[in-house]
């Protein structure tokens, strides 16, 4: 039996998602974003979190979903190769231990989702997709 591991439960593009707690540094609200012109569209910009500058990732763009308008958004921060990224999400609910299992055979996630998903878990009858944050960031282009 694989162990239940702590995950953050959230929503992204209206879908239930899970982020492994080991990848998440903090949960933050991000409002002021300085754009980075000429960068990939999924780079929403830069934001200051205390004395640290983070790269803000437009997760909806990464997943080919319509981006919500600018404003205050919730995000999880994660570090990849020494750089800190804030990955925007619709919302974050809770942290709880869940058991992530491989997706049911034949599940068609679509290319973008499939590239970042590691498996799924069911909570209160709702299937949640486990997301690898490093892979999400690698998709920024």
């Amino acid at each position: 039996m694989s162990a239940r591991e702590l995950h953050l439960v959230g929503r992204l593009g209206g879908r239930g998602v899970l982020f492994p707690a080991t990848q998440v540094r903090r949960v933050v609200d991000i409002a002021d974003i300085v754009p980075v012109p000429h960068a990939a569209p999924a780079v929403r910009g830069l934001a200051a979190l205390r004395s640290r500058v983070v790269t803000v990732i437009d997760s909806w763009r990464v997943l080919d979903l319509p981006s919500p308008p600018p404003g205050r958004h919730r995000a999880v921060t994660t570090a990849v190769d020494g750089h800190v990224y804030a990955v925007l999400v619709d919302d974050l609910e809770d942290a709880e231990p869940v058991e992530v299992v491989p997706l049911p055979p034949g599940t068609a996630l679509g290319e973008s989702w499939a590239a970042i998903a590691t498996g799924s878990a069911v909570r209160d009858g709702e299937p949640l997709l486990a997301i690898d944050l490093a892979r999400l960031i690698a998709r920024v282009g």
């Binding site: 300085v34 000429h38 830069l46 200051a48 205390r50 790269t55 990224y85 282009g141």
Partner: protein, 754 residues
């Protein structure tokens, strides 16, 4: 030099403290090899530093002790108590002299000859009597301590945090309207600012700390080798992380010694090669993007790669076939192979110590790289590139397209207002040229390059990049400030126009622009100019300004072409031109001659002429409306995209100068390159100019019946429906065979595919 001396004193004092225990242990057991090695390292280091610092007394002592210990290490001598005593006496004396230097006191050189003589195995002096430690020397108060960089980092983070808290506090107080704390807050602000300044500076040092030792190294090495060399040093005020400076010290000295030993020839050899007697060595530091580049350029004989290969083969004949198959650049890279002795590279004098493989490893360990530019017979340029992980930069804060950006102050030559009337902006092709006081520069607008809302630029920043200058149009210049540059994430760096990011006191992140990256993204091409030659005295002034033919081109513009590139001018009757295979051809009796032009060709009108290019340039014909005059070109030619060699000011008019080589090289019909898949837009932005420069026409969609010679697609993308001769796949990481940001590799692959 003072700084170096201080460092030497601190270091020696520290080592003395550290080896005090070793000394005692060695005395107890002279056969203990580990102790012996520790003491040997100490005297060896001291000896080395004394060479730089001009401390002959200490140097002589250390040298003598080193020789004696080397004999013990080599097993030529048995360490007896007399030797141990003599070495210890020297170590003590070094300590005493160093303390005296530090205290600024003089120490009599009394008995130093005796100390050295005592090392001699045949020494018959009073054994066991060690000259007493001079107790009269006041130990100078040490003015420096060593700190771990981690601790400095923690302090830095703490201070940054404090700045933000101060800002928040100021904001809240302003909102509340309470004046009571204003004075206290001002004092706090002032203190925090000073603290921030002090802490950031703790980690930084100017490259001067690295360069200041070089004149001496060059002088001594040149004298040893009987060569004459002038050294020019440039960019010593570039600031670099302290740690980085330390790590660069040895590789730099090694490269400089190599240049003198293997690169620069003796005066007689130089005369024979038609060069000035005195060799030139240029060491410079400059910032490019988020990297600091240290260049060591000599005007010596360069590297004889044949000889390099022959040297390796003579020791390892098995590798013959492998090495013969290498390209010249790959052969040059053999210099970095472990075990390749400098003797394979040329003569040998300073071949002692570390090899190039060690230098490269050291540089790579700090995230840097090392590149060689070899011009056989003319010199070698070694570029050591290191990241600017944490650097303070004086920056000019500009606004363009409604956003503020920082520009490295070092790259900004001047700032000119367009309204002042001192500038003139002309459209030239699709680009723009600005004339500032008779200097013509390509002009690009910051907002336009970045895809931001475009306004007419109010100010022009003249930026210097390797190989040339250009003007960058911005809306306003806000101020200059010292910023701490932090590396930006790969997602941001991929934009190609940023050098890093910074968090000013405002708390809003700001992007640091990369002047060279902006020029590249905007399509400006500068050829890399040899820095050494650039600094050469203008000996050949009278040769400047080649002759060119000024003519009216078929689009009505006046252009010029070097006279040497024209074999003759002949009339071009309209009837002699016909179209075939998508080309215009001129039949002039013999075989048809291809027409080439910098602009779109069309059927000629009567009265046109043809400039016939020589056979070496493809023997093509360039149609013109009218040849005008023979003019002498100015030396100052602003760069422009092929097939233009540049833009020159002739009789007050900006004239495009045709590059005959680019015309000759133009393919008969541009080959077609298809950008395929979801990333086609990205490729268009990043690769299109390079692909076009490689002689392709770039499309994202094939017209019916068309077939692309080459298609580009990202790794893992499907290739269904691609009608192509060859498919090149671009990878997303540098580890992939064809990394998509490695423009040079992509171009090379395209050329190979052709």
């Amino acid at each position: 030099m003072d700084e170096l001396l201080q460092e030497f004193i601190a270091e020696t004092r520290e080592s003395l403290e550290a080896i005090a225990g070793e000394v005692v242990a060695w005395e107890a057991d002279p056969a203990d090899r580990a102790r012996l090695d520790a003491i040997f390292r100490f005297v060896h280091t001291v000896k080395g530093s004394c060479g730089f610092l001009d401390l002959p007394r200490v140097g002589r002592l250390a040298h003598a002790a080193e020789d004696a210990l080397a004999a013990v290490r080599a097993g030529e001598r048995v360490p007896d108590p007399a030797l141990v005593n003599a070495v210890l006496a020297i170590v003590d004396r070094i300590g005493a002299i160093v303390a005296a230097i530090d205290a600024g006191a003089a120490l009599e050189a009394l008995g130093e000859e005796a100390l050295i003589a005592a090392l001699d195995p045949a020494y018959q002096g009073e054994k066991g009597i060690v000259p007493a430690q001079p107790a009269t020397i006041q130990r100078g108060q040490s003015r420096s301590i060593r700190l771990s960089v981690d601790l400095l980092d923690r302090m830095m983070n703490g201070v940054s945090e404090m700045v933000l808290v101060r800002n928040e506090l100021a904001h809240r107080l302003a909102e509340s309207g309470d004046q009571a704390f204003e004075g206290a807050l001002d004092r706090l602000s002032h203190t925090v600012a000073e603290l921030q300044d002090a802490v950031t500076r703790t980690r930084m040092q100017t490259v001067d700390a690295l360069f200041s030792a070089l004149p001496r190294v060059v002088r001594d090495t040149a004298a040893e080798l009987g060569k004459q060399v002038t050294l020019t040093i440039d960019g010593g005020d570039v600031e670099l992380d302290r740690e980085m400076i330390e790590l660069l010290r040895d590789p730099l000295v090694h490269m400089v010694r190599n240049a003198l030993d293997h690169g620069i020839e003796t005066p007689a050899e130089r005369r024979a090669a038609g060069k000035r007697d005195i060799g030139r060595l240029a060491v410079s530091a400059h910032q490019s993007g988020n990297r600091i580049i240290v260049e060591i350029a000599d005007d010596g004989r360069g590297v004889d790669t044949e000889r390099l290969v022959a040297g390796i083969v003579s020791r390892d004949p098995m590798r013959d076939a492998e090495l013969r198959a290498l390209s010249p650049q790959q052969r040059l890279e053999l210099m970095f192979e472990a075990g390749v002795s400098s003797r394979d590279i040329a003569t040998a004098t300073s071949g002692r110590g570390v090899g190039m493989d060690v230098v490269r490893t050291n540089v790579e360990q700090i995230g840097g790289s090392i590149a060689l530019l070899n011009r056989p017979g003319q010199g070698l340029t070694v570029s050591i590139e290191v990241p600017l992980t944490l650097a303070i930069l004086s920056a000019v804060v500009v606004e363009g397209g409604g956003q503020t950006f920082a520009l490295p102050r070092q790259a900004v030559h001047e700032i000119v207002a367009t309204a002042a009337g001192a500038t003139r902006i002309d459209r030239i092709g699709d680009g723009r040229i600005v004339t500032i006081r008779d200097r013509r520069l390509p002009l690009i607008a910051l907002d336009e390059v970045l895809g931001l809302p475009v306004r007419d630029p109010a100010l022009l920043a003249v930026l210097e990049v390797p190989g040339g200058s250009y003007a960058l149009g911005v809306d306003t210049v806000i101020d200059t400030e010292e910023v701490v540059v932090k590396p930006a994430s790969p997602a941001v760096m991929r934009a190609g126009v940023y050098a890093g990011m910074t968090l000013p006191d405002s708390g809003h992140p700001m992007l640091l622009l990369d002047a060279a990256g902006l020029a590249e993204v905007a399509g400006l091409r500068f050829s890399r100019i040899d820095r050494v030659e650039e600094e050469a005295p203008p000996a050949a002034v009278e040769e400047a300004g080649i002759e060119a033919l000024l003519f009216e081109d078929i689009d009505g513009r006046r252009r010029a072409i070097p006279l040497a590139a024209i074999s003759r001018i002949e009339p071009l009757p309209a009837a002699s031109v016909h179209q075939a295979a998508g080309q215009h051809w001129l039949s002039s009796g013999g075989a048809p001659v291809r027409l080439v032009s910098a602009v779109a060709l069309r059927a000629p009108a009567d009265g046109w002429s043809a400039l016939r290019l020589p056979e070496e340039l493809g023997g093509a014909a360039y149609p013109v409306r009218e040849p005008i005059d023979i003019v002498r070109l100015p030396t100052d030619i602003a760069p422009a995209a092929a097939p233009l060699a540049g833009v020159a000011l002739i009789e007050g008019e900006a004239i495009e100068l045709i590059d005959p080589l680019a015309l000759g090289a133009m393919p008969a019909a541009p080959r077609l390159c298809l950008l395929h898949g979801a990333e086609a837009g990205w490729m268009e932005i990043f690769l299109k100019p390079a692909i076009e420069a490689a002689g392709y026409r770039v499309v994202r969609q094939l017209a019916p019946g068309e077939m692309a010679e080459v298609a580009l697609a990202m790794d893992g993308e499907e290739e269904a429906g691609v009608e192509t001769g060859r498919l090149l796949r671009l990878g997303r990481t540098p580890a992939d065979p064809l990394y998509r940001y490695d423009r040079a590799a992509v171009v090379a692959a395209l050329e190979e595919a052709a």
